[in-house]
């Protein structure tokens, strides 16, 4: 019996295309929560996930913030890593050899400390043929001199996106910060400046205090909140952005189960990224992919596109 049911149940088509990059399915890790891919190779097949997104890269290696850098909160965590990374040169030398062997698109998340630096990293990315796209982080709330300036001001955001667009000869995904009054204003600005896709959201600035020591629980005082706690905010923002722009949107924020990812797809995200949940379960991305597939089969959905943007209002 199982033989016949197995042959009659056809697997849904899960493939999506974002800014010209073909993904075998719409689920990928979120930057900064998956290292450079290799860290998670023992736990899942990296050739079965939609894409790999690297830790944020900068021109020079970056040390990051003092410790403690992380603190758990209710259904979430605060982090102020400070964008510690090996720098683009060490990335090319030490991390690309592994990533190059994989038959999975690699998306390089990157940032700069100044407008010029953003441009320089973008240029350097052109030299790596195996990088499928750049994801521009204009939204990190952790670094004093960093992303916050660009991502919270539509003019500054538009300026940096335009500059990077000029230099980067690859699809450009721009990642938005939720720490703004109206995310649609920035979304519109970066689309007009040349973004091929938008990913959102980055972490929400938060703070937590140890009541015994009366000190902030992370050294940076404030940090970015991520995890299940932020999901409803993220779903709302993705919904708003989808309504505003016509480029594809990648939904991020608190996804840890298949049903969480489905929410984002239904409001119109063409793909999703999974962040903090990787720490809780290192093979969660595979579980989410399998769960979406199962949901499609149960609902008689033959192509994931039937689901994307199917929100009933």
């Amino acid at each position: 019996m199982s033989e016949t049911t197995r042959t009659t149940v056809k697997k849904p088509s899960m493939a999506v295309e974002i800014a010209g990059i073909k993904l075998r399915n719409p689920v990928m890790p979120a930057s900064g929560t998956f290292g450079y891919g290799e860290e998670y190779a023992p736990f899942l097949d990296l050739e079965k996930i939609g894409a790999i997104v690297t830790k944020g890269l900068s021109l020079k290696p970056k040390a990051g913030n003092p410790t403690p850098r992380i603190a758990e909160t209710i259904s979430g965590m605060l982090n102020a890593i400070g964008l510690q990374n090996v720098g683009i040169e060490a990335f090319i030398q030490h991390k690309m050899p592994f990533l190059r062997t994989l038959n999975t698109p690699v998306i390089a998340n990157f940032f700069g400390n100044s407008l010029e630096e953003y441009g320089e990293v973008a240029k350097r990315l052109n030299d790596i043929p195996e990088i499928a796209a750049g994801e521009l982080n204009i939204s990190c709330p952790n670094v004093k001199q960093g992303g916050i300036v660009f991502g919270t001001d539509p003019k500054a955001a538009s300026e940096v996106v335009a500059l990077v667009r000029k230099h980067l000869q690859k699809p450009l995904i721009v990642k938005l910060t939720p720490n703004v009054t109206d995310i649609t204003v920035v979304a519109r600005a970066v689309e007009e400046a040349g973004a091929d896709a938008i990913s959102c959201i980055n972490t929400i600035t938060g703070m937590s205090v140890d009541i015994h020591t009366r000190k902030p629980r992370i050294a940076n005082r404030t940090g970015g909140l991520s995890g299940p706690a932020i999901r409803p905010i993220a779903v709302r923002m993705v919904h708003q952005v989808v309504q505003t722009v016509s480029v594809p949107v990648i939904g991020i924020g608190g996804i840890s189960r298949p049903m969480d990812a489905l929410e984002f797809l239904i409001v119109g995200a063409k793909a999703v990224q999974v962040g903090t949940a990787n720490f809780v379960d290192p093979s969660v991305i595979q579980t989410i992919i399998d769960g979406i597939e199962e949901f499609c089969i149960d609902e008689g959905i033959k192509d994931i596109h039937e689901l994307i943007g199917s929100l009933r209002l």
Binding site: G32, T33, F34, G35, E39, Y40, P42, F43, K55, A63, G64, P66, T67, P68, R69, I70, A71, E72, I74, S75, G76, M77, N79, I81, Q84, T213, A219, G227, P228, T276, N278, F279, V280, D281, P282, S283
Partner: protein, 284 residues
């Protein structure tokens, strides 16, 4: 290194507030070294969100059942109830489902033996020393274990250590067991007697700082096992870093406790930074 979706074999209180949990983990012992750790997840519940890191107390296997099944390999952790996660853990029973990621990190570096080995454990810091003691004894070392705690409740597994062939010395702050006073006082005495010894230590940061100062003064090689807040346990989040020796603003050196550590040779760490971030004054 593997993510085990497995179950609890037993979970018992071994001293007030301290529990020992035995978890089924086939294949675990083949790759586990002393000083490594696991990331433990209480499967049923969402809060607490993140996994909790615990040192490996020991590995072993249950004798084969009469049903002819192969022996059951297990890993044991010993934990102290301090907060939300460990409170939930203390209520778990035989057969409950849990998840375990490990073995993780770099453990103790214990090459061949040509002198005394002194192990210093403060409270829950005794945990990673059990496997280490076993390995050292097997290599033919003379192993002395200095066990320190605030009260007698913080001292556990004494007879088990002794059964390995370890000479144990107990001290408690309140004198409720063993000698009254801090464990580092005992260490100073022992180092006078065995100036060629090597020291391995795990415990609260103020204790580690004091141990380090004593070892520097005596030119004694020291390895320490550190505890930092962790999220991923596999080197991906960069949340668990400590400053390496020689760290400066211009030439920063951050080491992942979960990947480079949790065991470090003391000379590779920035002790002032460590003491500062753990709020226990300077280390000089």
């Amino acid at each position: 290194m593997k993510n085990y979706r497995t179950k609890i074999i037993s979970n018992q209180e071994i001293s007030p507030g301290y529990y020992r949990m035995r978890i089924l983990a086939p294949g675990f012992s083949e790759t586990a070294h002393s000083g490594q750790f696991v990331m433990f997840r209480v499967q049923r519940s969402l809060p607490p969100l993140l996994r909790r890191p615990f040192g490996i107390f020991r590995t072993g296997s249950l004798p084969a059942d009469c049903d002819g099944l192969p022996p059951k390999e297990f890993v044991e952790i010993v934990y102290k109830v301090v907060g939300r996660g460990t409170t939930i853990m203390a209520e778990l029973h035989e057969g409950d489902k849990v998840e375990l990621l490990g073995p993780l990190g770099n453990g103790f570096d214990a090459p061949s033996c040509d002198g005394e080995r002194i192990l210093v454990g403060g409270g829950i810091g005794l945990v990673p020393l059990y496997m280490l003691a076993g390995e050292l004894i097997e290599k033919g070392c003379n192993v002395r274990l200095l066990m320190g705690g605030r009260t007698r409740d913080d001292i556990f597994a004494v007879t088990e250590f002794e059964r390995l062939g370890v000479e144990t010395y107990v001290s408690t702050d309140d004198g409720s067991l063993g000698e009254e006073g801090v464990v580092t006082k005992v260490l100073e005495r022992k180092l006078q007697k065995f100036p060629k010894a090597e020291v391995f230590a795990c415990g609260p940061m103020p204790m580690l700082c004091a141990v380090r100062d004593i070892c520097v003064a005596n030119k004694t090689p020291l390895q320490v096992s550190l505890e930092e807040s962790m999220a991923c346990g596999v080197g991906a989040c960069l949340g668990c870093v400590v400053k390496g020796a020689g760290h400066t603003e211009e030439r920063p050196s951050y080491l992942c406790t979960c990947k480079v550590g949790p065991v470090f040779k003391a000379q590779y760490l920035d002790w002032n930074a460590l003491a500062q971030s753990h709020g226990c004054g300077g280390c000089e």
